[in-house]
Assembly symmetry: C2
Homo-oligomer: 197 residues x 2
Amino acid sequence: MDNLKEDVAEFRENKHNVDPLFLNRWSPRAMSGESIDDKELMALFEAARWAPSSYNNQSWRFVYAKRDEENWDNFLDLLVDGNKVWAKNGSALVVILSKKTFDYNGKFSRTHSFDTGAAWQNFALEGSRRGLVVHGMQGFDYEKAHTLVDADEELEVEAMVVVGKPGKVESLPKDLREGEKPSGRKNLDKIVFNGSF
Amino acid sequence: MDNLKEDVAEFRENKHNVDPLFLNRWSPRAMSGESIDDKELMALFEAARWAPSSYNNQSWRFVYAKRDEENWDNFLDLLVDGNKVWAKNGSALVVILSKKTFDYNGKFSRTHSFDTGAAWQNFALEGSRRGLVVHGMQGFDYEKAHTLVDADEELEVEAMVVVGKPGKVESLPKDLREGEKPSGRKNLDKIVFNGSF
């Protein structure tokens, strides 16, 4: 019994007996257009908060807009059309940024993006665990996002995320319906090497 | 009942009812010097494999040396003395790298570090779940690491990790013993913002 969700078990196999949380998470696009309450959304940020980081610097920053808020349209407008068409049914949009410097000495932190990616993964896993759609995106205007959230120069935009309640596949444009399933991965021997490449 | 481990419950509180996996993970230094078998170690890479990434590019790469292998000393020598002194009791050392370009078109992927950080977090969480010490490090020679693992120019070194079996706090140098406990985090209102900073 590997506890894979039904929609995942068809596509992924838990060969190494890892926490099913990792395999159960994927990135759907179909969302219902419902709202999300603050308590639910904050739990995802809370999970992100506990990620590790160099000198515990916690470089991650999150700026969000919920669909029933005045900022929603501006956040949605950051996305490329290919993302806008489905992300519009989300409950919240989040801009993820990282602080490029250490708090304690102001110097450059070379792991600021890497560490922020760790926090993002906690965010995604907790959302998946709660039955939410959590879908990261790179298809948006990074410069406009930096300006819109009023980020200072020490902050770099890393990604955007849409969080939503699951919706029907039929609600997606036709060309996106076929891809609405858990994706595969490279074999371990393509990413793990003993001693050297 | 929030399922926090005993050594964690004293320092952390699961206020938002997130998966205890996130709070139970921390970065100990005390390790026993025991070996780890391949099956156990591979499970951590397997967890990493299922992280999300832009265009499912899976930019993460891992090069490892186990303590009973000839490459161990060379990997250990990459570390600064402050890390070497305790990491020497680990079971495996891992250099984490990211591929800076997309497989499908060779173009630069701006999320290569961020995505690799997501995979690293899966790795760390699965290790913690299995009762292993998993400790990320930035204190090492990045250039030498790149050369040692024979990485090509498309690959960037992101971090190193030591994986080990838990050891006794008394085995650590005196100045490290006091810090051998789960660390705190910034409050949510320092990292999460509605609409803009």
